[in-house]
């Protein structure tokens, strides 16, 4: 009985936490000023939000469903593997867009990153002065959203 109550409390708490974090993450997504900042919301807050829900579910089913499930753990694993990569790729895409459409840089409070210490470029926009310049295509709007 008490176990159930405690479990219920834990579940409820986790659920609230999960919902809350999901909301906060998305709130950050909506509110924060530039993409680089927005990226932080989903990668962390939302992931944890989902994670909380998943844990809640892990606790819930043995108690209420009579089954023990571990799929949630698997989902969490997947999310934890993929979320940083997604963030990484989105950031790269964004930086690439900014790099090729200089007008967008102004929106970044942090500006474009400097080159690394030893002079090597970042992978996303290296070869700036290389002869084989992939940016030679005379278009300014390619990666840019016209609505911006």
């Amino acid at each position: 009985m008490t176990v159930t109550v405690i479990a219920d409390a834990v579940i409820a708490g986790l659920l609230l936490l999960g919902g809350g974090f999901a909301l906060i993450g998305s709130w950050g997504l909506a509110k924060l000023p530039s993409l680089m900042s927005r990226l932080h919301g989903p990668t962390k807050a939302t992931t944890l939000g989902v994670g909380s829900c998943l844990v809640a579910s892990v606790v819930y089913f043995p108690v209420h469903g009579g089954v023990w499930t571990a799929h949630e753990l698997l989902i969490t694993l997947f999310l934890f593997i993929t979320a940083p990569i997604s963030a990484n790729l989105i950031a790269k895409a964004y930086l690439h867009g900014c790099h090729t459409a200089p007008g967008e840089q102004s929106m970044m409070a942090e500006g474009m990153p400097d080159a690394a210490e030893n002079g090597a470029d970042w992978a996303t926009f290296g070869y700036d002065d290389a002869e084989e310049d992939p940016l030679s295509v005379p278009t300014g709007a390619g990666g840019k959203d016209p609505s911006a």
Partner: protein, 162 residues
Amino acid sequence: MKRLLPHPGLTAMLLLIWMLMLNSFSMGGLLLGAFFAVLIPVYTAAFWPDRPAMRWELPLLRFVLLVIRDIIVANFHVARLILFRRNRDLRPGWLAIPLELHSAEAITLLAGTISLTPGTVSVDISTDGRHLLVHALDVADVNAEIAHIKARYERRLLEIFR
């Protein structure tokens, strides 16, 4: 043996995942899972040609627990930033973290950890593979932050990936 079990760690992990998915224990399920867990790495070995030497025991577990703890903390931290900090008061910035790690797997793990933990997202790697570009949502002192990351995560990873 190497042909049959190209990735023993992977095999173990797959078997674990299989049993997790099955939700119930049965001998048949275990055998089937073991069969798959052996089979799949054999097939995918070609896609993972040079795997790094890695310690699968305590340091990794410790690292994982640390990261989980940090994730939870970080979330509250970021939540606070999102909710209570005005946009213009945020101090976003770039961190170029010099790397001591060699292998792609290790660097990826580091980068993933960074992304999942406090207010930082790893963004890019330098063309010579020696620096990791990280974006921080709110950073007061860039160098201190870099040092913190290196000490907290990279050092531990160096232990795991020898």
